[in-house]
């Protein structure tokens, strides 16, 4: 399997041989082979739960393999703690950053191996200088004196990378690094990775996004359910071939849909203004219309008023001004209950915080909107039998796996949890469906399912409003695209707009140009 060796003379800097890791009842890694050459970006691709993180945690000393061996520069090593990994020149940038927000960039970077004055005191100047030198070497733009809480997420990630470099990392593991970045920030990250590569760093890039893997990696290793499926060079690989390796079957990446046949407007929003939790105006006069039989996508970088807009549309937050109408029913000040009863379906942004009661059974979750209506209850008296029977039907219809009606929602995988949410919202036969980040954190197979379902709902004649941070998702699903920037709709595009154009509009580019003109 691991015969994808380079033809060059130098041995790989890192080699994993036959790594096996068992958890109770689960084989997380099954004789996985993996190798990394000097100056290479090697992507580790796989769906959620494929064993990517387990493998990397073994490499970083957080888990111990049951079988197999790790070789660094052709020498066998035992890595029993992150400290040992760091000593061996392995650095890891986790998906969730491990930074202290109130401390400066320099302080965060030198943490745990600070330059000292007189053996006791932190030598701040030396720390800042070291960080500055390091940043200069790798051509990073970063201010060592800035507080971490005041810099952007993209910059925080750079701090994490610098931290690893400061500790002498030569092998860098990046765990889903683009998950938290805007498209522009992701491009900047790729630039940085290329610089690092030129300086001789070897990089393991963990991802489940096909496009970016093809963009950045020289070789791609695909894991599926704990097994190494194949290692392929970038040349000759396409999104389709990778998706097939990843999922194990043909996956429809392009959403197959016909042109929209919109009819009468269902959701009408007029001059909506919404204030956020801090009392600042987050939505500043949004007007839009979604007609039956079309998908309207709202694109935008996170934090431009999406959350507040969704909340106001679904009755979870009272708008300051403006109107929200479903059909000709004014729901501006109505609560969530009225929205649900007026034909609105809402796939919420965060299925754990909002979409599901994780400690409830699947049946109870599926009844979340209708528990108080016939046939689920009668004069306040629940009929658990009917709730379970209805749930059994829906779980089958929506292909939810890994759970019976009585299973707790928390026991399901993310994709199946989202299917439960979608099942509940769609089965209520809504006139308008508000889908907020409907595929966040899902793997390719589940994304395909949700996307297909949204298009089907459109074709059934529902109005669908899609709010997403993923440009790909917006582009592949929407019949019309609105760009939300700083609480306003700044642009409207047709479905054939280019990603570039959209990206510029999302960061306020078009507005600035207009302002100049």
């Amino acid at each position: 399997m691991a015969d994808a060796q380079v033809d060059g003379a130098s041995p790989p800097v890192l080699e994993l041989r036959g790594i096996t890791k068992r958890f109770p009842g689960v084989l997380a890694n099954d004789k996985v082979d993996f190798d990394l050459n000097r100056g290479e970006v090697h992507a580790l691709l796989g769906e959620n739960g494929a064993g990517k993180s387990t493998l990397m945690n073994i490499l970083y000393g957080l888990y111990h393999p049951d079988e197999g061996e790790i070789l660094i520069n052709a020498k066998r090593v035992t890595i029993d703690s992150p400290g040992a990994a760091i000593d061996l020149g392995i650095g890891m940038v986790h998906q969730h950053f491990m930074l202290i927000p109130v401390m400066t960039v320099a302080e965060n970077i030198v943490l745990a191996s600070e330059p000292r004055k007189g053996g006791v005191f932190l030598d701040v100047n030396a720390a800042v200088q070291k960080v500055r030198d390091l940043a200069a070497t790798f051509n990073f733009a970063i201010d060592p004196d800035a507080k971490v809480e005041s810099i952007t997420v993209g910059q925080q990630q750079r701090v994490e990378i610098l931290k690893a470099l400061y500790r002498g990392a030569e092998i860098l593991i990046l765990d889903e690094p683009t998950a938290v970045l805007t498209p522009q920030e992701a491009d900047e990250l790729f630039g940085i990775l290329q610089t690092l590569q030129r300086e001789g760093m070897s990089i393991i890039f963990i991802s489940h996004k096909l496009r970016e893997v093809l963009k950045i990696a020289e070789r791609i290793t695909v894991l599926r359910r704990g097994k190494m499926i194949d290692t392929v060079p970038r040349e000759g690989a396409t999104q389709d071939t990778l998706a097939r390796l990843m999922v194990g079957r043909e996956v429809l990446l392009r959403v197959d849909k016909t042109a929209a046949q919109p009819t009468e407007p269902i959701l009408t929003v007029e001059e909506l203004r919404v204030v956020d939790d801090r009392g600042l105006e987050a939505v500043r006069g949004v007007s839009l219309e979604v007609r039956a039989g079309e998908i309207v996508g709202i694109a935008g970088v996170d934090g431009n008023g999406q959350t507040e807009l969704i909340d106001a549309l679904t009755g979870l937050r009272t708008p300051d001004a403006g109107r929200v109408l479903v059909g000709d029913r004014d729901l501006t000040t109505a609560n969530a209950h009225h929205h649900l009863d007026s034909g609105m379906g809402h796939i919420p942004e965060d299925r754990h915080r909002r979409g599901l009661v994780l400690d409830f059974s699947l049946a109870e979750n599926l009844a979340l909107h209708d528990y108080d209506k016939e046939p689920f209850s009668h004069f306040g008296w629940l009929h658990p039998g009917r709730i379970v029977a209805s749930a059994r039907k829906l779980l089958g219809e929506f292909d939810v796996r890994g759970g019976r009606p009585q299973t707790k929602a928390s026991a399901l995988s993310g994709g199946n949890q989202q299917k439960v949410v979608v099942a509940r919202e769609v089965s209520r036969d809504p006139r308008v469906l508000i889908a907020a980040q409907p595929t966040r954190g899902l793997d390719v197979g589940a994304i395909e399912f949700v996307h297909r379902r949204l298009v089907e709902e459109r074709d059934e004649g529902r109005a669908v409003l899609l709010i997403s941070l993923e440009i790909d998702e917006i582009l592949s699903l929407s019949d019309r695209i609105l760009v939300l920037y700083e609480g306003r709709i700044v642009e409207e595009y047709g479905p054939d707009v280019s990603e570039q154009q959209l990206g510029i509009a999302m960061t306020g580019g078009t507005r600035e140009r207009e302002a100049v003109a």
């Binding site: 068992r22 111990h64 049951d66 599926r224 194990g248 209950h337 979409g355 409830f360 026991a411």
Partner: protein, 425 residues
């Protein structure tokens, strides 16, 4: 070890058997739901025993047995099996087995009287808990119930028996509901935390009660003007004693069945009504409940009010069932509402759990009562042991997560020990 099937698209783990690891986990959690409270109790008993040993040098086994004997529980052992004086270890103390059995019967009735009240005060904590609220105000709501019961029971005259009892119970329940409802409204409208408000309401209830029964107070006795105590409850308002004691003094009243019925009602409300669905949804995840169209504030209020109903009833069954009067000293000494917190926590806020933990605490309280203890154990010793056990149970239940964590960590740690260490070259 099972191997995951490969190259087939969907993972097939369906079926009801816990073959998947999630299924196993669920089973484990269900089992943990019974095992951890038992471990908690056992651990509390052992530590209390150690403390007794260290501080007094007495045998903790003897002390524990004295408490068990004093609780009257040995009465449940059929007399054909054993001479109860052997169980009690009091062969010298009781002349005949008959006398020993009678004593055990009286003690058991006392235990069940405590259990009755503790079930209700436990439910008062548990119901709010299921809605994500911590009702510390069981004690105050209990006072309100007791005051209402004594006011109706003693001051109202010439009512037929059934009506009088029912009215007193209803008013007590309502008083408790209103008292807890205040905290519920404050939480629902202005977000004042119920822990703070219920503690404040406890003190208000305490002082209002103290005033009502004080010398010259509105509810003070007409006959003994120099004692801060209420009038006696009329015969027509007393709860029927269905299990009279051998000396026909006190016995067990039908309040016991009210408490059992309350356990059933608690279960039915939570599991079979839309109200219970809402309460549980809010308790697990208020944000998801709101998204689902449930009014969180309405449920905060209702859950508190229902909690207060249970506590109010607790006060009423105490007054109408055996105390028959209420006074300043009773208010000052009462802590039954607070023990309800321990009962609910140990019982995991479920009906069955609350029944058993109420029985446990009832037995501990009766068993360590100076009056019930057989020689030669000093009463203070047993009484203190009860307090220690109570405190430890609360402590351990609070540290429940820690216990579970240690339990799981232990399992986790075994894995690396088993692994074959890769060789160093």
């Amino acid at each position: 070890m099972s191997t995951t099937p490969e190259t087939q698209p969907p993972p097939p783990p369906e079926s009801g058997e816990p073959t998947t690891w999630t299924g196993k986990l669920a089973l484990y959690q269900r089992a943990g739901g019974v095992i951890t409270p038992m471990l908690t109790t056992l651990l509390a008993l052992v530590i209390a025993g150690i403390v007794v040993r260290l501080t007094t040098g007495e045998s903790p086994i003897d002390t524990g047995r004295a408490i068990f004997d004093g609780s009257g529980l040995p009465w449940l052992i059929p007399d054909s099996l054993i001479d109860i004086r052997d169980v009690a270890g009091t062969r010298e103390f009781w002349d005949t087995e008959e006398l020993a059995r009678n004593n055990a019967e009286v003690n058991l009735q006392q235990t069940l009287i405590y259990t009755t009240t503790l079930i209700l005060t436990g439910l008062a904590v548990a119901f709010a808990f299921r809605c994500g609220l911590f009702n510390i105000g069981g004690q105050g709501q209990f006072f309100l119930g007791a005051i209402a019961a004594v006011a109706i029971g003693a001051e109202l005259t010439s009512l037929p028996r059934g009506a009088h009892v029912t009215l007193a119970l209803l008013c007590a329940a309502l008083a408790g509901a209103v008292w807890a409802g205040i905290a519920g409204i404050l939480r629902a409208t202005v977000g004042a935390h119920e822990v703070i408000t219920t503690i404040m309401l406890n003190w208000i209830a305490y002082w209002v009660g103290s005033y009502l029964f004080s010398l010259g107070g509105p509810l003070q006795s007409d006959r003994s003007r120099d004692v801060p105590i209420s009038n006696d409850v009329q015969e027509s308002a007393k709860l029927h004693v269905w299990w009279p004691d051998p000396d026909n003094i006190q016995g067990l009243h039908i309040g016991f069945f009210i408490a059992i019925a309350a356990l059933v009602v608690f279960w039915i409300i939570l599991n079979r009504t839309t109200l219970g669905y809402e309460v549980r949804a809010v308790g697990f995840n208020p944000e998801a409940a709101r998204y689902g169209g449930i009014s969180v504030s309405r449920n905060y209020f209702l859950a508190m009010a229902i909690s207060g109903t249970f506590a109010g009833l607790a006060g009423a069954v105490d007054i109408l069932g055996w105390q028959y009067r209420y006074g300043q000293i009773d208010i000052q000494q009462s802590d039954i509402g607070f023990i309800g917190i321990a009962v609910a926590l140990l019982g995991r806020n479920t009906s069955v759990g609350i029944f058993f933990s109420a029985l446990l605490f009832g037995a501990l309280l009766t068993g360590s009562n100076t009056r019930n203890l057989a020689l030669p154990i000093e009463p203070e010793l047993a009484g203190n042991m009860t307090l220690i056990i109570q405190g430890l149970v609360v402590l351990f239940v609070a540290a429940d997560l820690l216990v579970l964590y240690v339990w799981r960590a232990r399992k986790k740690l075994r894995i690396p020990q088993r692994r074959a260490r890769p060789v160093e070259s």
